[in-house]
């Protein structure tokens, strides 16, 4: 038995009649910002159970986002033209320190894709030797480019820390990781005598 129709209630006949977005009743940003500011306190053991739960949810959201970014990078590297094939190369014999391609939380997320991790690790491991094979002016410019990429990654990650769900920043970060792989691949191939890039 169904209840009689409520003539006062407005019938929705099309999805277009629904509101485009539902805004929260008040500005949530100040509280979110305050919680972000409190993260060090929480890490120091002063987090309440409710706040710890919120932290967990936030980190889960960040982890999910990282997985999406990693998948995007893997797809880009696997299917875009110029993806490197076998990247196994000799380990630098001179044991020099490679440029500071630091491992970040985002890098750690990529480890979930072993192929991406293997490719990147192999390229980074041989980077110093490959750079040494370049003409000195080119080497200096490439090192400057790698530094630029590192700074871009750091800036994007910092911005994502403030706005983790920002699709624009996520896309630009994926682009930057693809740039890094492109540079590493180009350096690898450019220093291979007789092969060119």
């Amino acid at each position: 038995m169904t209840s009689p129709p409520d003539n006062d209630a407005r019938k929705v006949t099309s999805l277009r009649e629904l509101p485009q977005s539902l805004e929260p009743p008040h500005d949530l940003w100040p509280r979110i910002e305050a919680q972000l500011t409190d993260i060090p306190d929480a890490a120091a053991g002063r987090a309440t159970p409710a706040r710890a739960g919120a932290m967990r949810a936030r980190w889960l959201a960040v982890a999910a986002m990282l997985a999406c970014v990693a998948t995007g990078v893997w797809i880009g590297r696997s299917f875009l033209p110029g993806a490197p094939g076998s990247t196994a190369g000799p380990v630098s014999a001179n044991n020099q320190v490679v440029p500071d391609l630091r491992t970040t939380a985002f890098d750690a997320a990529y480890v979930s894709d072993p192929r991406y991790a293997q490719q990147r690790a192999a390229l980074v491991r041989t980077l110093q030797a490959k750079l040494a094979a370049l003409p000195p002016p080119a080497r200096a410019k490439v090192e400057a480019s790698l530094a630029t990429i590192e700074k871009a990654k750091a800036d994007l990650e910092q911005a994502l820390g403030r706005d983790p769900s920002n699709a624009l920043l996520q896309e630009l970060l994926v682009n930057t990781y693809q740039d890094e792989m492109r540079v590493l691949s180009d350096v690898h191939e450019a220093s291979d005598p007789g092969r060119g890039i």
């Binding site: 370049l134 002016p137 410019k141 630029t148 630009l172 492109r182 007789g194 890039i197």
Partner: protein, 299 residues
């Protein structure tokens, strides 16, 4: 004392002779009959590579070799011609070679250099030009062109003939004049200055390099440009107009048609400019994190 001075003089003459001998240039000339639409591969480590197209079914090679270069190999078989400058394997050895090559104008051309500058003129076939630190300058003639360097600059000059153009460099600058067709370019921190007479699709990306694009779009064309911290300056006109979408996290957005950017989110950072010019047949999407963006529908 006089004997010592004479000995010193003789020694100096000997050293000068040896130095002159070491820097002496040799020349190499060779012509081979080839297929008019074959492929020509050229490689040279250091110096210059100048390629021009001509109407004869022959490849002509003129090389000026500095000391330390082993030889120039030229071979042709089954529509494939190869020109290689061979240098000793030890790093730091081998002088420069200036290669001047004439090829049938409809040949497919593949050039690879390390620190050699590459220049092409009058080649109507597909061109793939790669260098590490050398600069690449190519003349566009309607066939697809792919230019790639690590630190060298890229310069492409066309006459409005449509083609697929792909340019990529790590730290070099990119400059394109009178290109047309499908265009794709990327650089990390170089500057991108692109002028297209007629563009079907445009995709450009930099990390920190500035982009200045100026071009006329065909009906329904797409333009996508993104950068992390560089500036995007896009002047694109189209007969059918275009829908535009400009997104920025912290960079300023401006335009020449008095539209105002809005906040991307009511409570979060970021701004967005969206709208339509003309009939909205094409699409223009510009994205940046912190660089300034300027969009204009007039050239």
């Amino acid at each position: 004392m006089r004997i010592a001075m004479r000995l010193s003089g003789a020694l100096l003459l000997l050293l000068a002779g040896a130095a002159a001998s070491a820097s002496a240039e040799q020349t190499f000339d060779r012509e081979v009959a080839v297929q008019p639409r074959g492929a020509v591969d050229i490689s040279n480590v250091s110096g210059r590579i100048e390629v021009s197209g001509w109407e004869r079914a022959e490849v002509s090679v003129h090389a000026e070799l500095e000391a330390g270069v082993e030889r120039v190999d030229v071979s042709s078989e089954g529509g494939h011609t190869s020109i290689k400058v061979l240098v000793p394997h030890a790093p730091g050895h081998g002088g420069e070679v200036r290669l001047q090559v004439k090829i049938p104008q409809e040949s497919e051309l593949n050039v690879s250099g390390v620190s050699a500058d590459i220049t092409t003129t009058g080649v109507l076939g597909v061109q793939r030009l790669n260098a590490v630190s050398g600069n690449v300058t190519a003349e566009l003639a309607g066939a697809d062109v792919e230019l790639k360097t690590v630190s060298g600059n890229l310069h492409l000059k066309g006459r409005g003939q449509a083609a697929r153009l792909r340019l990529s460099t790590v730290s070099g600058d990119v400059r394109v004049e009178h290109g047309a067709g499908d265009f794709e370019a990327s650089t990390v921190n170089g500057t991108l200055i692109v002028s297209l007479d007629s563009a079907r699709s445009v995709r450009v990306h930099t990390t920190s390099g500035d982009v200045r694009f100026e071009g006329r779009l065909t009906h329904g064309a797409t333009v996508e440009a993104s950068t992390v911290s560089g500036e995007l300056n896009v002047h694109a006109s189209a007969d059918g107009g275009y829908a535009y979408e400009v997104s920025s996290f912290s960079g300023a957005i401006s335009d020449c048609f008095n539209a105002s950017p809005e906040r991307a989110s009511q409570y979060g950072p970021g701004s967005r400019l969206e709208g339509t010019r003309g009939q909205g047949a094409g699409h223009v999407r510009l994205k940046t994190m912190s660089g300034a963006v300027q969009l204009c529908d007039r050239l």
